[in-house]
Amino acid sequence: MQNLKKQEIITNTKKQQIKLSVPNEPEYLSVVRLTTSGIANRVGFDLEEIEDIKLAVAEACTNAMTHGKAENGNYNIEFTIEKESMIIEVKDSGKGCMVENIRKPQERELAEGGLGVFIIKSLMDKVEISSKLGKGTTIKMMKKIGGK
């Protein structure tokens, strides 16, 4: 017990990472959502925030599967838990895209696509997309802990 207490103190000062590698198959997206909810809950987000994070991560994973389509058949999600925020990176090694061409959806247009990135940006506190044509895409998003 003495030992555990000590460990807990160390824990709180260093950042922790959970990594998940998932096949490029729609059927496993529910597993990603479950894992994401579990981590967000553990970190201390409230129910509404957990829903937000879950949806944002799922949108990024859907893009990794549909646009990225990595050759090796898996994409990666990294959760980094810091003192005041959680950072999530969804990485594929797929075909990439021109980030500057991603546009905000136009309300009047009734577009069937183009909502994913917009939803991610709306739900998270900070979002960065980096992509290299032919090399893959990383969507990095941050949510503040106790940010309300």
Binding site: L29, R33, E59, T62, T66, L110, E112, G116
Partner: protein, 104 residues
């Protein structure tokens, strides 16, 4: 972690009632799309979606709904959603889609 759909045509009100149970994402979206196609073939009428037991929808699911609405609008019909849970309401509001599907 799956999607169940129950559809009923209400003769008196000339409306399709669609009850959704579960989650709509890229895995279950095909089933959702096929349901709209089926109703469209059978009877091109208004559709009312009961989302009482819908726990989750993402942009893939919203895309399917928008696609279905576009086709129906050409026939002067509409799609409405009722009994929307708070997390789903939030997505609808963020994307502005609530104005299209939720009646006041």
């Amino acid at each position: 972690m799956s999607l169940d759909i129950k559809t009923t045509y209400i003769e008196r009100e000339t409306v399709w009632c669609v009850e959704l149970v579960g989650e709509i994402d890229i895995y279950t979206a095909n089933k959702f799309r096929e349901m709209f196609e089926e109703l469209y073939e059978k009877k091109r009428e208004n559709i009312e979606i009961d989302a009482k037991n819908l726990d989750y929808i993402d942009s893939t699911g919203l895309g399917v709904m928008i696609g279905a609405l576009k086709k129906l609008r050409k026939e002067n019909k509409k799609i409405t959603i009722i009994n929307v849970k708070s997390n789903i309401k939030r997505v609808l509001e963020i994307t502005g889609i609530d104005k299209i599907f939720i009646e006041n």
